[in-house]
Symmetry: D3
Subunit: 232 residues, 6 copies
């Protein structure tokens, strides 16, 4: 064929992806999604409808999968591409709340070393998943199963819950949400997050002692300049 | 009157209903909603917005009640029709999030032997309901009370959260959702669910040992035939 | 100035507000939102999408704050107006799910004696907030941070999640929702709630003993009069 | 086989259905959904999210079809079962907004004499459908196409947008929504609707002349008895 | 009675209200909701889910009505309080999409001189309402009728679609939404709107001639100062 | 600086972008979103909540802009980058329904030759925009204005309503929705769409003549093989 295979087409599995540095991803995960999101310049956050099925905090490298509504065939294709430390990021080509994932797939993903699933659709067996300790962030919980009929793709760039995810990007997820950090930015964002968190400890102590944010952040002048009026 | 009383009209209470076999319903309940839903041929599931107010897993026979928005009068009429092992399935004639049900009605339902409530509207006193151990699946939680002014019906066929429920049908509910099994199909579905679950145990062991679903389900051929391409 | 400063304009902070009686607010809080809402004549309830980030039950006096989408500047202005026993009620001028509030602001609010936050938007650091024991009712959870660029107001009347809140009003919040009691009505509503709850204990005992609501509430006559028909 | 074929299973097409009387359905359609819904005793209305893609008013007899998310295979099976005067009522086994229907299927349905489509999912080619004059009520509009991979059923009872529809039932749809009238009730409901409408003409004239509903409906007494207070 | 009648309770009709100046309200209406909303300081807008059932632009003085879910009894009580130039603003005590209003009530309201209805719920007979030329802004369209069983109030302050409305306030509504202007602010807001619109005409001409907003608003400096970087 | 400027950061404007071929984009636009979406392999469609404010059909090349909630500053920056034939694609960093765009900005965009706006937020002045003939696809309509305080970016890759858009990509939008075609794929997709449409004309004629899709697509065999059963 003269036409090269597009990496953004359906029916493609990319085997070799450049994963973000494992150590940096690990460190990034300790800060949590809110701090990382700020360190990113308030970018990269998935929509807030993405919720953990059980309270959890993880980080890992994205293996992406693009699925059709009501069809989880490519989940099994994705499983083979997993390496320890990966997080599966699943996008759907149209809104769908079906349960694409349950305890069997979780068993398989865990056996491959995966750390979590982030899916813009539904999952099921949520009690079992909690008992297994496999974290999941999803849009819905649904007992509705799926079929295996149509090709999607694995490890192409996907849009999951409003965020662009390239395979190998770092994912940081906790009870506040899910943030995507481009693989190339992981070290920079980690450093910015560390700096931010260091400052927060100091601020927290001051605020706990009764210092007002108004004074700590020197807001009184700007507020007055903006026209704020105090009345009795 | 020459016109016979319709069983689908408002203002009707049907006293004698054919309940699904109690033992079979009990057995069905152990499989959980996802397995039962699959055993049904992926039918009978209520919309995924139906959520348990506290984690729970139950099964029982449906006593149905049709209510008007903001009016829970018929809940008291339904109470009298309850037998041990029943689950009240409450449908509303228009979308409503009011709190139709709280700890008093739960006390009454429990005294009658009811096992749970499934309601396409809101409930309240959720902390007390948790302490009482009475499971509820609902669309909303709301402190908003209801009035007692308009007739609905008890034990007529109702549509609850998108699923058709006849009085006496089996209800299986857990953290994944709520499934309705027609009374006549309970034994067949139970057997299909048992078969399905037996197979799952074996699959789970294989997947845990690192066997891929691709191989266990013989998917490689069909995927290739469908045109799946692996690239580097 | 010939034009008096309007108390409902942006850019205004009202320093002295008439808070509902602390003891009465305390007593009110023990009844929970459902009973208080009924005692109010089924008025004053915020929309049921307002959910606690962790199970909690509190009451307090409202310090109100009006914010712009994506801008939490006025939260710091509100902090200075807090007194022990207050609950911050935050309204936004347009729908927004951003995380306006996290552990730092919670530290500051707690240092000022605030009991809770009720916000018609998102919050973050929810795990930390749980560990700190600071209760929050919100529309969303989101790691998305906010800026500090535009003036809102503090202690003006606001509409929060569909309910009108004047500064100083009593707020009662629990797992069932959030109710606003006008400061002037606190004693009356407390008494009505107490009377209601006293009756409930008695009813609960009867229902637990198997008495039907149909009989306890003398509903059989009205139901028959309304045309209810029993069939076999 | 000892097990009879269930009429509610997937993979079934029922060829002969008892359609509501054509003339009565025609007459019913002139009243519009609001009047018919009232004449039904405020039953049988689909959820209000069902909207016409273009302003229209029709009635007809239901040919039902049950489809899977993202799969419109059974639409073609349904086409063969259509007779002049039918309205296709399409339900989906799980929430889906895909475009199941466009100008080609509309051409086929029109050639068979169908009057409209009512679908609890999405449609596309809406401009062309308007030009063709084929009325559609749907949950969504979406260019997203569907596949043809999984069996559903035709002419089994379905739940569409919260309403139970048996094949052959009368459907009345206009800009206010979609109402289902059981085939056996069509004459009774038509008569009740006619009586209702006759009364409305008289009421309309009085109200236009400035008579108040308070007086026309004799509400002043009941309102006073209910405790209504007029203040200045 | 020692307890004075509260103006915010259920079961109250206030007969005499202070309406905003009719001429000023008329003038205000010509600017449309977006300009008025800006002139208000970006306050007073109802939630954007409030949509006109037919394209329209009106202004008028609010007669408020508070209703219960599924109950439109007070609409008739409100009709008697209407004067020419009024707009009925209807709030519901809990979320409801029922059709509270149709052509009969519209006939009555028009006979009383009302200009429009703004309702945080559903309406029906929308085709007839269009033919009658009676403008309506609502949350939903639904054929579902309502009952007449429970007291609400007329001409008390209400929260409608997130906005606080006092009886007599000015309402400005068009295809962009619904804005509430407190009666006391009508002249000031009208003047601010007029000034704003005068400036817009000039700006429009410049922009049409190809002048960039960047230059017209002198944004280049602030953007550079904020750190904006141009790259190739 | 040793760190290169990232093209995906906030505060960046890319001046030179590779636009898809104008003639091919023009041709693509004639097919409409549904056909183009199919020709893409059912990829690239924005979420179906994106709706035209007035019926329209256009195609053009994307100039992208990333904005913050409630802040439309970058719209003016984007205006300068517009060339005849462009369509502005506006993404927001968090869900927002504010009215970012009205008749003034439309005047400016039209003066620059822009063909349309696609925005994952709200717009206002919709009646004026209709009169001006400037097409807009949006998530909401809202009179709520925005501020100009925070930097976003222009001509970076953005996620708009769930679809990834690179500057220069082709946009095809009509009453069915909005599709994004990567610049590199425009010719291929145009050809596939043309082929698809050619086939559709033939199919349409057959279906209009009464041929069933069952026969035209040779579905009877596969349906039987899948187990479809016809009953009487």
């Amino acid at each position: 064929m003269t036409t090269p295979i597009s990496h953004t087409r359906l029916g493609v599995v990319k085997r070799h992806i450049a994963r973000a540095d494992a150590a940096a991803v690990e460190q990034l995960g300790r800060f949590g999604s809110a701090t990382v999101h700020e360190a990113m310049g308030r970018m990269g956050l998935m929509q807030p409808y993405m919720r953990p099925i059980h309270s959890a905090q993880v980080s890992g490298t994205a293996v992406t999968v693009l699925l059709h509504p009501g069809d989880n065939w490519m989940m099994h294709v994705a499983a083979e591409q997993l390496q320890p430390g990966d997080i599966v990021v699943a996008a759907i080509t149209a809104p769908c709340s079906d349960g694409y994932f349950g305890d069997l797939l979780a068993t398989s993903f865990m056996a491959r070393g995966a750390r979590a699933l982030v899916i813009d659709a539904g999952v099921r067996d949520v009690r079992e998943l909690g008992a297994m300790g496999f974290p999941v962030w999803s849009k819905a919980i649904s007992a509705k199963g799926t079929i295996k009929a149509t090709l999607g793709s694995v490890n192409i760039p996907v849009v999951c819950a409003g965020a662009l995810v390239h395979p190998g990007d770092a994912i940081v997820a906790d009870d506040d949400g899910v943030v995507v950090v481009p693989a190339a930015d992981v070290e920079r964002v980690r450093d910015a997050a560390a700096k931010r968190e260091a400052l927060e400890a100091e601020k927290r102590a001051k605020l706990a002692a009764g210092v007002l944010g108004l004074d700590m952040y020197n807001m009184r002048g700007p507020l007055e300049q903006a026209g704020l009026v105090y009345i009795d």
